[in-house]
């Protein structure tokens, strides 16, 4: 799974994207556990972050699989 980081989350991880190997699909909780294992402390962004899966906002009950491109989206401020 490819995971994309932007603005403050990218400042925290120090990278724009990361690869995470998923053996089986996970829900959002499982995804955040894997992220926290790779980037300890990243969980502090969870409350302000929306997850996207394959370029669309993920549903609350979304399942994420190894082929997905996931993005951690901080509150947006375009326009």
């Amino acid at each position: 799974m490819k995971v994309m980081f932007f603005v403050r989350v990218r400042d925290f991880t120090g990278c724009e994207q990361a690869e995470i190997e998923l053996k089986r699909p996970v829900a959002a909780d499982g995804l955040w556990e894997l992220l926290e294992a790779k980037f300890p402390g990243i969980a502090k962004f969870r409350s302000s972050t929306r997850l996207a899966r394959n370029f669309a906002y993920a549903r609350d009950d979304q399942s994420f699989s190894n082929e997905d491109e996931v993005a951690l989206l901080s509150p947006v401020s375009g326009g």
């Binding site: 932007f6 603005v7 400042d11 989206l73 401020s77 375009g78 326009g79």
Partner: protein
């Protein structure tokens, strides 16, 4: 209803070129909106703003929001362009052009499109390369 409706979405790394314009003769109202970078941002004088995006998703969200709003406010042509990178004070970061038979739909579309855009489209602005900033 949705046939014969044109929606274009463009994301530019430099200045937004003039939007394509509306040439059809069934539109009585054309609304152009430009969001421009102001000198004064949160009480601080700035030279410009840096915009970044999750680009493929930003393009899809802009189109998705436009298509969704068209079911509520039937318009005939929507052209949207957003600029990324450094946008100097006085230049446009976003440009939206809406054409409709009557003005009511175009004005309501603009209002709601901008609100939705600022909620959902993964684009972020910063006053400098290093400080993120909610809108």
């Amino acid at each position: 209803m949705m046939k014969d409706v044109r929606v274009t979405v463009e994301i530019h790394d430099g200045a937004i070129p003039p939007l394509p314009g509306v040439t059809r003769d069934d539109c009585g109202a054309v609304v152009d909106f430009q969001g421009v970078v102001r000198r004064d941002e949160h009480g601080e004088s700035i030279a410009g703003l840096h915009y970044e995006a999750y680009r493929p998703m930003a393009e899809r969200e802009l189109e998705r929001i436009a298509r969704e709003l068209l079911t509520k406010f039937p318009c005939r042509e929507i052209n949207v362009a957003h600029r990324l990178g450094f946008v100097p004070v006085g230049e446009a970061s976003i440009s939206v052009q809406i054409a409709s038979a009557h003005r009511g739909e175009a004005i309501k579309f603009l209002e709601e499109f901008m609100n939705r855009m600022k909620q959902d489209v993964p684009i972020w602005k910063r006053t400098s390369q290093s400080s993120a900033q909610p809108s």
